[in-house]
Symmetry: C2
């Protein structure tokens, strides 16, 4: 069995769960490399992946004997089979943050489950700690993103549009990576005051502010990076806001270390923004891995601590509606107790 | 209030529901045009959209006074507010196929809901019947897709790779539409035997089979179309399979009309395939709208009937593992009782 599946089996056993249904496709990808539609079932004796005709061939090519996962076509599974999977299982785990209410009810009925138990995101939590291979993949995705910023910087000239730049970025990622990790943001002028702006046909002017937020995928792992650029001279206000954001970006990265309290990191930025008359309107950052947004979330609502081999973004931003916005974002790895920018 | 929100209010009232929480973002987009992260709440008196700082500006720009929707920033809502939203509501609806088990429990607690009621996809069902504006948008998306097939057909030559063609398609959609509606499939040679193949660096040969499945978005609405091409002469077996798929594609479209039984449509294809020694391994088609796959599903497991102004794909396919596959797909509108290819 691969090391991640083995970890899950040990974890279930420590929680007195004799089985589990994994339905979150990202968790399934993490555990098995399978990217398809289906469900992973851990019974007392077996690991089973159930999918349909569209994916059978692909799934069989992805798995190796070493994975010890049996693949079933859903159309070959009888009602008796479903009832037998968890026979003699006292407790069976499920993903309460992924399974819908309708599926929850259906599975209890179909699998005849005695006690269907919430598992409190055990797999998502394990995913926050990256192994060496995962770190290599994220590092490569970040490197491609740095190169992409270099490549597009010469195109940031008056007359070019947001959409044109976004298209250059998407093409670059399609050629040099596995495409974008999320919808590329190119927001100029007053559009930059929207943190999640969609690229428009707005043309850059002689004196402009441009925020670009972009990332790609490499071996399934994401990168995420934002830079704010100026064409011509920034206004006094823009310069002040930019420096404030940059300062908080740097201070946060300096403060990130093994054991750092997430809430304190965020409060530090919130307070400094407030002293200057601004608010931090989105979270300070988030984990990055197979998903572009994953645990841990750097939010003042979360009581958690950073640990070695976590990968998080640091992305303070200030947005002044109708005027402009500034965001600066890097992806960092907690390593040997401190932060390393990837 | 816009006509779709008004429809939903009438529907809730007919179901003896005094309120509803809409959490499926596609349903929210359908009802309000809002594309953001948040939830739509229909109380006795008010329509409320709750989002966060990242989306407030965008949401306020999307809505008009005519929508009669009040927007709240989640951070301004107190515990008391949550408890007051559904005060004096006997029954409150929720989307059991979208809401997770964890959120289901959280909402009952937070909103102090007396009776939280499954709504059996009322909005998804309503979405199957397209209005004139929706049909125009889908028609335009289909037209762009036809033009894209014309544009790429000259590039289908020996030496070109699957990835190169997929990139041409994606570029075309980025320039002429709102990008792709789903990951473009370009599958050649034995790759074409996988219905959901991912484009590879495989080069087309002098005698090759290529399946291309692609679609774009226009005003949020999707198109979906598949063609199987041959470079050089198809083999006898390929010709036989192609003709069988084409025949079933045409027969299905001829049989589509207001009131047609979905199960019968599918059985007809399944039987003809079986007579020739093949299986229909995926559904015969699906609804198309704001989502690329939506109700109604053309599957032999579904007992439903087609109605005027439904838009569905017809996509029979035959896949021979390790050899090749053939799929032919069009998007059709049920109109004045019969099918019109869009």
């Amino acid at each position: 069995m691969n090391s991640k599946m083995q970890w899950l089996r040990n974890k279930l056993s420590s929680m007195n769960l004799q089985g589990m249904i994994v339905s979150n496709p990202v968790n399934i990808q993490y555990l098995t490399n399978i990217q398809a539609e289906g469900m992973l079932i851990l019974t007392r004796k077996e690991n089973i992946y159930i999918t349909d005709g569209r994916y059978i061939e692909h799934v069989n090519k992805t798995l190796t004997i070493y994975d010890e996962i049996t693949v079933y076509d859903v159309k070959d599974i009888s009602l008796d089979d479903y009832e037998n999977f968890f026979l003699f299982c006292e407790n069976v785990g499920f993903e309460e943050n992924y399974l819908t209410y309708a599926k929850y009810k259906e599975y209890i009925r179909k699998f005849k489950i005695n006690n269907f138990v919430e598992t409190e995101e055990i797999i998502e939590k394990q995913r926050t700690i990256k192994d060496a291979e995962e770190i290599r993949d994220i590092e490569e995705a970040c490197k491609i993103t740095r190169n992409c910023f270099e490549y597009i910087s010469e195109f940031l000239k008056p007359g070019k549009t947001e959409k044109q730049i976004a298209m250059l970025i998407d093409d670059y990622y399609n050629k040099n990576a596995e495409g974008v990790a999320f919808d590329t943001i190119v927001a100029s002028g007053e559009n930059s005051s929207k943190p999640h702006a969609v690229p428009t046909d707005r043309k850059f002017t002689n004196q402009d502010i441009i925020t670009i937020d972009m990332g790609c995928k490499y071996h399934g792992y994401c990168s995420d990076m934002t830079r704010t650029f100026f064409i011509g001279e920034p206004t006094e206000k823009q310069r002040r806001v930019y420096n404030l954001v940059q300062k908080n970006h740097d201070q946060t990265i300096d403060a990130i270390k093994e054991g750092a309290n997430v809430k304190q990191l965020v409060k530090m930025v919130e307070n400094d923004f407030k002293l200057n008359g601004y608010d931090l309107i989105h979270s300070l950052g988030h984990g990055v891995g197979l998903e572009i947004h994953e645990k841990p979330y750097l939010s003042s609502k979360v009581d958690s601590y950073l640990r070695d081999h976590m990968v998080v973004t640091v992305e303070p931003g200030i947005y002044i509606p109708g005027e402009f916005g500034v965001r600066i974002e890097d992806t960092v790895l907690v390593e040997k107790g401190m932060a390393r920018i990837l």
